[in-house]
Amino acid sequence: MSSTPEKLLFELSTPGARAVDLPDSDVPDAPLDVTYAAVMDLPLPEIGQLDLVRHYTHLSHRNFSVDDNFYPLGSCTMKYNPKVNEWAAALPGFSNLHPLQDTRDAQGALALLYHLRLFLQEISGLDEVCIQPCAGAHGEWTALKVIRAYFKDHGQPGRRIILAPDTAHGTNPASCAMCGAGVITIKSRPDGLTDLDDLRAHLNDEVAAIMVTNPNTVGRFDRHIADMAKLVHDAGAFLYLDGANMNAILGIARPGDFGADIMHFNTHKTFSTPHGCGGPGAGPIAVRESLAPYLPVPQVVRTANCQQPDANYSWDFDRPKSIGKVRSFWGQFGVLVRAYAYIRALGPQGLRNVSETAVLAANYIAQRIKHVYPLPFGPKEDEPMAANPCAHEFITVPRAVIDRGVTIMDIAKSLIDRGIHPPTVHFPIHDCLMVEPTETESKATLDAFADALLAIAEQSEKDPAPLKEAPAHQPVRRLDEVGAARKPVLRWEPAVA
């Protein structure tokens, strides 16, 4: 990480400098009516190509990334992003294909999407996948619209309530609100699983669905999921699965088999598509047959067409019960190419090994630290992790360390100084670290992380002061985030002379 401050592009701007050139006009210059014409040039920065390259190179040195750092970030699945997937997405036949070209020109792209659809159907154990949603939250929203359309079509428009456990991701209730649905929170039991009695008490003929994450956000596979599904189905509602934690169960269990009716995937978590500083993601959804007629248009399909024998794959717009379109064009194609390449590289054995190794890595870290960083939902203190294992992630509440006056944020910032991205903090419960190592890290990296956490705990015993000061070796120290929100400065402005 570089600690040399980097000027803003605007401070590097030199009038007259240029980074690229364009051809001269080979047709006559045409005048534009003054009613519509801009009167002056845009106030954009002017910068030469080398300085532009150096600017972004410097910025890249002021960033953590999976290519550079370990990210044990719970529920985010920051696994390695294979380089061959980038190569694939950049192939000219994929990257330069216009979305409105005739499907005859796009058979390779459509075949890829169609087969990805089949793979996700098989992995989910559900009947039909829609590859269109832009991200996980967009998938949630799309799925809730599908459920809503189902109930309207079945004469039950009054079902507008969505139940969500108190450990749900924040996008779950926010997606409900965007669909005009009310949200009721269901309690968790002391062991971190959903309280079925509380669920039963809230089920009635106004409930459309319950949204659950399984394994849940405290790293527990809810063994009562089938009972939960039965309760929900008996009440005439659907079980929605937030697929954020699919990395724990690939090839081991399928949502469709354990009672889910509808779910979303996060390709940027489970299927290794890069996070890109916060996007693009993709959030395909999978549904049971009864919900399929309501999926967004169009659907990618394979047809036997004797008039166009070469055109096997096409878009099906003829879905009269569809909720309509949820985005322009067809989906996050470039992201889906990477997800497809990943699934093809791994195959069935590979995907199962992903989940087994992810679970092993999480348990291994937990085992190494739990005497100092106890697991509220783990084995007893003197028992090994195998006595009550976690899934692919776990939460720890390091009460002893906190009692020495060290906050969770101090631990997080101290990890940054050790070159490790902090785990998720304060979610789903206060004062917790949520650790998800993923399957792609080496044993040496897992050990280094455990060592770092133990060293921080040790430091807290000796002298917590340096932890309170962390990070000390990064481009910046801790920030005044309150000041940033109180008087927002959201863009650079030239100094007034």
Binding site: L97, A135, K325
Partner: protein, 443 residues
């Protein structure tokens, strides 16, 4: 290849460390009756060489704009992408970074987004830009949702000149909410502003107009904005970012919220996504905005630094009371647009826009000289126009295809009254010779 680095020997060692006799000991929280008792039915794994061969085959089954001359636009455009954009935006440090929640470990991407927000404001003349949304249609839908929230009114009035996909997406977003979607007709290729003068309701939250509109024509956005404001409604414009190299900016046109598909700014066509949702508005609405915002602040030593800010609007804090459910932005695409805008600069963007405009004018003149007519000759256009054909549209597209030309979009699919028309787009990449060839085919 499963990209797992833990060796079989280490696996055994780790199992032993956690007190497990086998992997099964760790998986037993998944009850047996809920398990999949067979391998997934998906194809066997491919080594990298075989994978590349397979993907190369799939890619070569597409006839992309690489091997055809592209006059197809309709919301996604074949613009020039400087090599620096690909190179810089694909750096692993950006590609594989997470959302910048931990500011001290993310100053690079945070500064890049702050610069993005600034350049989008410079481009649009608007006061605030967020750090981006998914793509053009959902950005416009978020604008409509924000207008409902800001005004407390219920109706969204949408010009029929707005991209048909965007209008469909708006309908999907607004259904199930206490909201009403209605459309303003077009008159001679432009939004019927007379209708706006007389038909707006008290309950109208916003008027949505696209300029240049789907037919390619430049709208009188300022007039439309005046009618909207006179009615106590907001004016939302969906714009084409390249066009702002020569056209008046939304910030000068009585616009309250301006959104765009950012794909023309250095983002490859890639069959429709991922693209970039540009979202800007007046600063008075900042606390109602959807999506990520990066702000400038200082660290404990007084150094300039950047962080995500106003997060109390967002889902991870506010849950069902958030301004939107949006979690991610389109970080990497915002980065591409930033590098593009900085590389082009004011001169480059003006030149690109002027080239588009010049070539569209040239094409219009050549079409008319060849005996074809523009559908709405009186309406000004930027880089796209509706040409009326003398033969069936399908037949002409087929003939052009045989000559490796994508001649345009058969707009009759969305506007039945234009079933004899083709929507033709030009960019700075098209040459005079290519335009001449197109005119020959369309004759």
């Amino acid at each position: 290849m499963d990209y797992v680095q833990i060796t079989p020997a280490q696996r055994e060692q780790m199992l032993k460390a956690v007190g497990a006799a086998s992997m099964e000991d760790l998986l037993r929280q998944v009850p047996d009756e809920l398990r999949l008792h067979r391998p997934l039915d998906i194809p066997s794994p491919l080594d990298e060489l075989s994978l590349r061969s397979h993907l190369g085959d799939l890619s070569s089954k597409n006839r992309s704009t690489d091997c055809q001359v592209c006059f197809l636009g309709a919301g996604a455009y074949d613009h020039f992408i400087p090599a620096v954009v690909d190179d810089l935006a694909m750096k692993g440090e950006f590609l594989t970074a997470y959302t910048p929640y931990q500011a001290e470990a993310s100053q690079g991407s945070l500064q890049a987004f702050f610069e993005y927000q600034t350049m989008i404001c410079q481009l649009t003349g608007m006061e605030v830009s967020n750090a981006s949304l998914y793509e053009g249609a959902t950005a416009l839908a978020e604008a409509a949702m924000m207008a409902l929230n800001v005004t407390g009114k219920r109706e969204i009035v949408v010009s029929r000149g707005v991209h048909p996909h965007y209008r469909q997406v708006l309908r999907t977003y607004l259904s199930d909410l206490p909201a009403i979607y209605s459309e303003v007709p077009l008159k001679n290729g432009l939004t019927d502003s007379q209708y706006l003068e007389t038909e707006l309701e008290e309950d109208t939250a916003a008027v949505i107009v696209q300029s240049p509109n789907f037919l390619g024509h430049i709208e009188r956005v300022d007039t439309i904005g005046k009618f909207a404001h006179a009615n106590g409604s907001l004016c939302i414009q969906s714009f084409n970012p390249i066009s702002l190299g020569i056209l008046k900016r939304p910030g000068q046109l009585e616009v309250d919220i301006a959104t765009a598909e950012g794909q023309p700014l250095g983002i490859p066509l890639q069959f429709g996504g991922p693209y970039l949702g540009i979202f800007t508005c007046k600063s008075q609405f900042v606390r109602k905005m959807p999506g990520r915002l990066v702000g400038q602040t200082v660290d404990t030593e007084g150094r300039r630094a950047f962080c995500l800010t106003l997060q109390t609007r967002e889902q991870h804090i506010r849950r069902e009371k958030a301004t939107s459910n949006v979690c991610t932005n389109q970080g990497l695409l915002a980065l591409r647009a930033s590098v593009y805008l900085a590389a082009m600069g004011p001169k480059g963007l003006r030149q690109a826009a002027q080239l588009c405009y010049n070539k569209a004018q040239y094409m219009a003149a050549r079409l008319q000289a060849a005996g074809l007519s523009l559908k709405y000759p009186a309406a000004p256009f930027f880089n796209e126009l509706c040409v009326q054909l003398k033969r069936p549209v399908d037949e002409i597209i087929r003939q052009a295809h045989a000559q490796h030309i994508l001649p345009g979009y058969p707009i009759g699919k969305d506007y039945p009254e234009l079933s004899d028309c083709l929507l033709v787009a030009v960019t700075e990449k098209r040459t005079r010779a290519e335009i001449d060839r197109l005119v020959e085919v369309l004759k």
